[in-house]
Symmetry: C2
Subunit: 342 residues, 2 copies
Amino acid sequence: MTRIPRIRLRKPYLILLGDEHDPINAKTGFGIVHWRRADVAGQLRAPGAAVDLGVPDLGIDAAADDGVGSLVVGVAPVGGAVPAAWWDVMMDAARAGLDIVAGLHTKLNDNPALVEVAGAHDVRLVDVRVPPRNLPVGTGKKRTGRRLLTVGTDCAIGKKYTALGIDSAFADAGIDSTFRATGQTGILIAGEGMPIDAVVADFIAGAAEVLSPDNEPGHWDVIEGQGSLFHPAYSGVSLGLLHGSQPDAFVVCHDATRECLSDWEHFALPSITECIALHERVARRTNPAACCVGIAVNTSTLPVRKRSAYLEALAAEHGVPAVDPLIDGCSDIVAYVRKTFG
Amino acid sequence: MTRIPRIRLRKPYLILLGDEHDPINAKTGFGIVHWRRADVAGQLRAPGAAVDLGVPDLGIDAAADDGVGSLVVGVAPVGGAVPAAWWDVMMDAARAGLDIVAGLHTKLNDNPALVEVAGAHDVRLVDVRVPPRNLPVGTGKKRTGRRLLTVGTDCAIGKKYTALGIDSAFADAGIDSTFRATGQTGILIAGEGMPIDAVVADFIAGAAEVLSPDNEPGHWDVIEGQGSLFHPAYSGVSLGLLHGSQPDAFVVCHDATRECLSDWEHFALPSITECIALHERVARRTNPAACCVGIAVNTSTLPVRKRSAYLEALAAEHGVPAVDPLIDGCSDIVAYVRKTFG
């Protein structure tokens, strides 16, 4: 069998935070700890760091002794440039036998000194924004197992969070499932995945097929959506991912009060009705049974007293559960999936 | 103003044919001569070559003296591997001051000896399958001038030929237009363009925007489509190209008797009705006025006596001209465009 071209990280992780003071910049680190606490051995902080992920502080030597697999950069460098001190830490970790993992704009593999040390100590430098080589083109052939894809009326509207929440709710319900990451933060959380928006255009659907291979009949892949079919810049990514994922079910992610696409303000957000209809129409090209199984809405900008009525009205209108995944979780969506798919 | 990231070739061309015997393998050379005879200074053939493009045979020194800009590989190497003799010819041409241009799987820029010679003689090695760097993401902002995109019910169904035919028919009608190439053969014919299916997924729409910039109000860009919205492997390319192109008008390319996608036989070809409807629906996201202005059908597999009735029925059903572009040309489509857009 040929090697599957997919990123996979070596666990557990030591999370590099540098001397970060702002929790917002450390959202990757917090995300990993929130969703995958068991994969995190500790955090590595420089003196004076104010951010705390709530996991043990751990040095590189201790981490190596404990069998840590990877040093994961869990913070975004302010201004984009990687501080010199980080490179020193990464060299030390590589010398200690840890893989180095990052989703930085600056590629680990573009630093010759780090590449040399990694080669000498037989560790990997994993840039999770870089897709694997030798991706195939899509086949469109039906795969075994079930698939659920989160889609959206816009970018940055909760598709990753919702997918993680649904995966977690499947686990709570005793149903086998796997979160399938398609963006850098998702890949760092899952420990594997496919940076779908960095794939060459001809291979988008093929990459999505590789990400979500044949599985057991009762197993659900919960696939992190990217972009939006309604987005003037990123719709191609979204359609390729949709066709390659062959979802049996999709969940529409939305924001209760957002009126225009973020950063593309000359485009109105589509309605949920439009969003469901277009996704059903195009998804059925590769899975004739594709249907909407839920609506996940960020309601944080609504007055608290209006939240319930808003979600109830949505659920009644579309005939599927409507939740705010941060507040309600996703168990209602999983219950609906069980009822629909058995 | 920043440099526009778009491939542009230096004309006129000397077309390299090697010792090719099979005209099918030389279809790029024939395409350039057919559509852009004025750009071709001559052909370069090895002794024993049976293929003849019907242009003067010309050596490299004579070509350099005549002011030829580029040596263009006009033939596909049998089996894919570039013969050693071709590399020798390319080195000689580079030493004589010609740019070297090819759409080969093997990249010119991956041959260190050729790269060195090209550097020493200040000529370019242009791999037309390699997209330019620094492409922007799409903005979705409306551009001036008119745009027509050819789309299809499948891949390899006449989108390039139809776009070239419409561009030519615009010229015949005295209307300013530019053929905008999105694939390697189209780029070699046009002398410029964007290999849209080789662009990184996040930049498909942005690349399409770059390809077809602001223009005069009465000018038409005629954009070569790629893939199909109904294709399980390539739909992402097609949607990104559609959204970035912002077409005022599109022409559906079809095959009269093809029943399944070529090489994806488990997918039925969509109907022309479905194809028009889905394109109108999604195209209107970036151009609310987008509409179908014609149907271009390969009727070569129909009995001759049935051709006219078939096309007339299509035209009547959809209310737009239906032509076989190889037999009828595209003047009916251009006449309809004039009537519709003034």
